[in-house]
Subunit: 411 residues, 2 copies
């Protein structure tokens, strides 16, 4: 069934308010086999009428959000009734509960507020536990003369819409679509491969499976692959993806690389520390965003200045003089001493040139050394990420975490 | 002029990716007198064609985002050319710079990547400094037989779209709309006051000035105030805002708090260090995002575990035993020793309970101590930010940076 979403609200189009409805509704209806085909955002007022008319001609289920409040620009209820040729009737129970609600809060009663008790003929009321504006459900073709989809009219504030959606809209949706819908979805989060490399590895093979949908989403140092289809197609695609991408898949649920590391270390009762020059605290910051990080993360040495490398981590000044701060020997010394100082199982170290200045022909901006000290070994990788400063830091962090992850997994 | 926005991307409709384009574009075009009349979000593929065709009939300026990458579901470029009846030509300069970009990164060249060098006949190329997909500008009615709006085709990733928009799209937009040169816009970035407190302080007074537009945007620990109007109205509003908000204004250009600190310290040839328990590297990470941070930032001690506080910064273990790690004496010791160790002018320290666990009735989740050691004094603030873990870290970082900023300014 085709599902569309119409968000109304001038404030949404000014860009000051982040619209949370698409993400919430999309994720809730997915298990019913429903996906949003199109989302529109229009201002309060008459633009809603045009959008409704257009969407009525294609949607089978339509969600409309916003414009149910008491102010003059809240006219969604009136437009819906008008477009569908339905009369509005004041609902006495709704009116009484509105009055009670306002009295309890000491808010003055106005005729504008009373409009919130108006209901189009034949509509079902979706109670609002967290606000004054009730939602509405109007079944498909509620006026036999005007073709219309199943229509859900929902309040704008997420803390009102979300509980209402779960309590009242979902049961109606379940009866409309008659689940179980067999469509499944899988997510694979991939590190150390670019988007086009990932596609080359799996694209053709996966798309050769009938009925599979495949999508990619790239972020700095990370590619998400999504597949959607019937269980049979999904399990065939899953086998291909896992075979082709293997250890580059760091998560099949929605975890970050740092969450995976905190989990892996926690399971093994192991710990780690970081010595950060060029990443400047990003590794520590990302790890400490994970609840429970304190069990596995001991310490971070952000040794930004050369003197700090010497003072904090006993790096031999002659090493820096001879090889430069951005060098394999210095990366090695940082990881070595961070592990000893912190008394951790592992230590990661980064030293590189984030730019925009500080590069040289020999070591251009983007050059980075990542060292990993493990109990019985030490390894150093030289990488090159010529990009803006923050992306450089992100790419370095991804590579460093991935190095640690693979080592923990024993590969 | 009517402006519409078309966001393309299946991942957007699945609700997994937060779409940042509407907010960004709406705020940038606002000073030009432009507002977005409608935003649509459609999946990759043929739905783009239908949406383009419909929007061509009403938009005068149309922004299309996404689908310019190298994978098979990236077909925005092809659909645009097709709908407008324009041939695609491979642009040799674009091809050469793509090749160079990929070679520099050691990424294998594929024919799919080469598609990114295809340009519809007559389109202007909008260079992408942060990715491989160039943007496109096609002037209104570029094919005289097919009515079309001014069309901007932009890449999906915000870190590519945003710099391109500012550098290339804005100048074109300015020439299209020919804004009256007299409209000015001012920005005030405010710390230590919530949105409603800011509004209470300035709202009525500023809005009493004829012809002024006033907007707020709140983020964790920060409120942006924007005013737009004729020079005369602007200077009256400016006087009110500066008088009411004074030192809570940390920037009147688009600087972050960390940029302000790097600038202030740089001007004074002063330096600083941080000792971070609950912020876990966020202070260091934010400071090292600023180009030139190495001139003023010496070292960060991310002493997450109690033992790390003792080992890294000589905190007396009996202090921790007696008062707990989250306490005024420990915050004080951290700042004191961080300054001595790093040999810096200033040192900031944070220790608190980020949650979700670890709270107690006496020290609930959200409790934080921030200490600032300056050459001749030390101060400690106890604050309470009961929120989720990442917001807690951000609010603490804002408060810590603001404490340092005010001290540097001698207030």
């Amino acid at each position: 069934m085709r599902v569309d979403l119409l968000n109304t609200g001038t404030e949404l189009l000014l860009g000051d308010v982040h619209d949370a409805h698409l993400a919430f509704i999309a994720q809730e209806i997915f298990p019913l086999g429903l996906r949003i085909a199109e989302r529109r955002t229009v201002p309060d007022g008459e633009a809603i009428r045009d959008a409704l008319t257009e969407l009525f001609s294609r949607a089978e289920i339509l969600f409309v959000t916003g414009g149910l409040g008491p102010t003059t620009d809240d006219i969604t209820r009136e437009i819906v009734a008008d477009v569908l040729g339905l009369e509005l009737h004041q609902n006495p129970q709704l009116l009484a509960s509105l009055r009670q609600r306002l009295d309890a809060r000491g808010i003055k009663w106005t005729s504008r507020i009373a409009r919130q008790a108006d209901v189009p003929a034949g509509a079902e009321i979706l109670p609002n536990e967290n606000g004054s504006a009730s939602g509405l459900y109007l079944k498909a073709n509620i006026n036999p003369h005007i073709p219309s989809p199943h229509l859900f009219v929902l309040p704008g504030p997420p803390r009102e819409l979300q509980p209402m959606f779960l309590a009242s809209a979902m049961p109606i949706l379940r009866s409309i679509v008659q689940v179980p819908a067999s469509t499944e979805r899988r997510l694979y989060k991939i590190v150390r491969m670019g988007e086009s490399t990932v596609e080359e590895a799996i694209g053709e093979k996966v798309l050769a499976i009938p009925g599979i949908e495949l999508g990619y989403c790239a972020r700095p140092g990370e590619v998400d692959v999504r597949i959607i289809g019937e269980p049979d197609a999904i399990s065939r695609a899953d086998a291909i993806i896992k075979h082709e991408l293997r250890l580059s898949i760091f998560s099949v649920s929605d975890e970050t690389l740092e969450e995976v590391i905190v989990k892996l270390l926690g399971q093994r009762n192991e710990t780690f520390a970081v010595a950060e020059s060029c990443t400047g605290g990003l590794l520590a910051n990302r790890i400490t965003n994970v609840p429970g990080a304190s069990k596995v993360f001991i310490a971070g040495y952000v040794c930004y200045a050369n003197q700090a490398k010497i003072d904090m981590l006993d790096v031999d000044p002659t090493l820096i003089e001879k090889h430069g701060a951005v060098s394999e020997p210095v990366a090695r010394a940082l990881a070595e001493h961070a592990r000893t100082r912190a008394g951790s199982t592992y230590a990661l170290a980064t030293t590189g040139i984030a730019g925009p200045s500080g590069g040289s022909p020999e070591k251009p901006v983007g050059t980075v050394y990542i060292a990993l000290r493990v109990p019985d070994d030490i390894m150093v990788k030289k990488l090159f990420f010529p990009s803006d400063r923050e992306t450089f830091k992100q790419l370095t962090a991804q590579a460093a975490f991935d190095l640690l992850r693979r080592k923990i997994l024993g590969t």
